[in-house]
């Protein structure tokens, strides 16, 4: 009897051992997060990526605001040049923040309010005509940087005429100032929520893998941003969604002709967010480290490597057509469509591989039904 029990226990132990070995041998499948310090990741992202990016944006927006005021008080060409250059700076810095669309930014509708493009010019002109400066609808395409792009670069035939229009037409001038103020208020709201409003602490402490945790927020927002980047900045203008017929007027920054540069900035920022790197390029804890921690591989290569290399390829591809304006590029051949194809490859890594191996369920918070 005792012998039988011993034998049974021995077999049981063997079975357990076999199962654990079996598990250990295939780190590529079913790894999930275990024993990883999520707070360190969030701390780095918050301190070295998100908040510096926002303050970088805030600085530029503050300058934009003050130069808009100086121009209104003193409508000289030199002031106008300064205003334009500050606009470009702020628009560029915004590209570094547009993927943090959760928490305060979500509350402030930051991305929609600052960068819904292409601008609805008719709507803007009719609002200017009516003296209507209501920018509360996040679904409207009448405000933010695209509105400034139009007002400063495209609202009349030449630069002189634009200056004249802004000087002589009070409504247009008001519209410009109100748009700048709206941008500035929203950016102020978001950065103060992160710094003094306690969101940063909340963000760092919100560990776990469920929907609504910080990890799920950053993975979802990274994905959402990447898909918007791909669709709006490159896809729609190049005609990939319209049977190959290009839509040159739908590029970002159509009038100021910096579309390619902005797209590159956005892509670089997405990569930085993924790697957890600071604006100065200093390496920190990022999603790549988390992927390495769980030992995620794809076709034998570390998934973190796969994604990082794909980022680099996409950025290189954009550099290879680094000619403005993009609105003309899209009409001359397939170069832009090829860039689009390169950029698109990343989506599957970010959207299926990463959440799957990290076991972050992509559950919609407002799931309309039961599940089983």
């Amino acid at each position: 009897m005792i012998r039988k029990i011993t034998l049974f226990l021995f077999l049981l132990l063997g079975a357990v051992f076999f199962i654990s070995c079996d598990e250990g041998e295939k780190p590529s499948s079913n790894s999930c997060i275990d024993g990883y310090d999520q707070e360190a990741l969030f701390q780095n992202l918050s301190e070295n990526v998100i908040i510096p990016s926002y303050s970088h944006l805030k600085d530029a927006v503050d300058q934009l605001k003050s130069s808009a005021e100086s121009f209104v008080n003193n409508p000289q060409t030199s002031e106008f040049q300064k205003l334009k250059s500050n606009f470009l700076g702020a628009y560029s810095n915004f590209q570094g923040c547009s993927m943090f669309e959760f928490g305060p930014a979500k509350e402030a509708f930051l991305r929609n309010s600052l960068n819904n493009f292409p601008l609805n010019i008719e709507e803007v002109e009719s609002k200017i005509g009516a003296g209507n400066y209501d920018f509360s609808s996040p679904d409207a395409y009448d405000k933010g940087f695209p509105a400034l792009d139009y007002l400063l670069f495209g609202s009349a035939a030449t630069e002189e005429e634009i200056i004249i229009r802004l000087t002589e037409d009070e409504n247009t001038r008001n519209y410009l100032q109100r748009v700048v103020n709206d941008i500035s208020e929203r950016v102020d709201y978001v950065i103060s929520a992160w710094t003094s409003g306690g969101y940063s602490e909340q963000f760092v402490a919100n560990t776990g893998t469920a929907a609504g945790t910080s990890l799920s927020l950053i993975i979802n927002s990274l994905n959402e941003h990447y898909e918007l980047l791909k669709r709006d900045k490159i896809g729609i203008p190049s005609g990939t969604l319209t049977l190959g017929f290009p839509n040159p007027t739908k590029v970002e920054a159509y009038h100021s002709r910096v579309s390619t540069a902005l797209a590159t900035k956005a892509l670089e920022a997405s990569k930085r967010f993924f790697l957890g790197n600071s604006l100065q390029g200093q390496s920190g804890e990022g999603l790549d480290d988390l992927l390495d921690h769980v030992g995620a591989t794809k076709d034998g290569v570390d998934l973190s490597q796969v994604i990082e290399q794909q980022y680099s390829r996409s950025i290189d591809a954009l550099h290879s057509i680094d000619r403005e304006p993009l609105s003309e590029m899209v009409e001359s051949g397939d170069a832009v469509s090829e860039v689009y194809a390169t950029i698109s490859q990343q989506v599957v890594y970010l959207k299926t591989d990463m959440p799957s191996v990290l076991c972050v369920a992509i559950t919609y918070v407002d799931n309309p039904s039961d599940s089983d």
């Binding site: 295939k26 499948s29 079913n30 017929f245 076991c359 039904s369 039961d370 599940s371």
Partner: protein, 450 residues
Amino acid sequence: MNLLERVSFLVDKVLLSPKRIEPLITFRILFGGLMAYGALRFMFRGWVEKLYVEPRFFFKFYGFYWVEDLGHVGSYVLYAVIAVSAFFVMLGLFYRYAAAMFFLSFTYSELIDATNYLNHYYLVCLLAFLLIFLPANKAFSLDVWLNRVKAVNLVPAWTINVIILQLTIVYTCAGLAKLNPDWLLDGMPLKVWLPEHKDFPLLGNVFSHTWSPYIFSWFGAFYDLSVAYFMMWRKSRPIAYVAVVVFHVLTKILFNIGLFPFIMIFSTLVFFSADFHAKLLGWIGYKKDNLNLEGLKYNMRFLRPLLIVFFALQLALPFRYLLYPGNILWTEEGYRFSWRVMLVEKVGYATFYVRDKVSGRKSEVMNRDYLTSFQEKQMSIQPDFILQYACFLADVYSEKYGIDNPEVRVDSFVALNGRPSQRFIDPNVNLTKVSDSFAHKSWVLPFEDN
């Protein structure tokens, strides 16, 4: 007794021996009440809009492409019919019509959009179908009170045993489906789902422990495989029912699972004895009558073949997957209607391309233009949905852009149970040239576990 006599004795006992009606009464009241509540809940939560009004395209089950959506008002009418007929079932008023009406309206609502398929909705359809033929209104009902039917207190055993059999099939098949390597050896997909609840009071630590997914997986498989049989045995019944309640309450805590736990907690009461039910019903005023053998008269000429076919199908459907090659968790061929519950966590991504053969022009499709986010998620992981959607796109593009017979292809990737993704559908296949059938879908690429 020889063997034949024994078998026929046993069959008589299981099918025809007189049994007291009380378990059926409890079942009727709880099932009807729960379903009425469920339909109201659906309406008041705004799910009618979300699931039947918002989408502009609906996915169908194979063979049910003819089912039409009913629009805003129509969908509410449908849900009102479901609620009212369920309520009538509960009361036992115009019972047979109410049960038939409930079965038809509920089933129709489930056929409108296959995106919303859930095993427990399917179970509701089956139980509702059985209820049409059961004498569940023949005691303690308004039909009796109004003298519409004569009260009886004995019914043939099969009228109760069909429910027991149906539940036993559900549990057993759900248990067998869990006997796969992902579930047993990798603790998947519970490894994804349990840690999501790490902040739950008291139990949070249990959910997030490294070993928990394995323990829960093994316990779950054992529970599903055995609970129906423990419920059948008088001695183990009380403890088995405690397990039923604990198990389903736990699933209620962990998962967004709606009414399913209550359906099972209520339905499994049917395993209990008539005395137990008489006591239970006594709380709401039920009194036992004198024995009355009239209830045993039943015309089986039509019912017998019907029930035989019904249960033959029930026993066959869960195993039809054996006729298909490949991993069922991946291909989902034979997945539905098989009690495969909570077995997969899938992340999918599908990009469709429509091409005009004549001009050679090609367009990528924005799925969000045509599908709700929930539909897109479901579509990207289920081959028959991908096919239906591709055909819908072909229609849209030929109407909107005047393209004759556009080609539709898909770039699709699915990640199963915590693995990296793999290509799901053959990207070279023009999906408009494929038609759905029960045959194996060769355009679904095989799953490679590495």
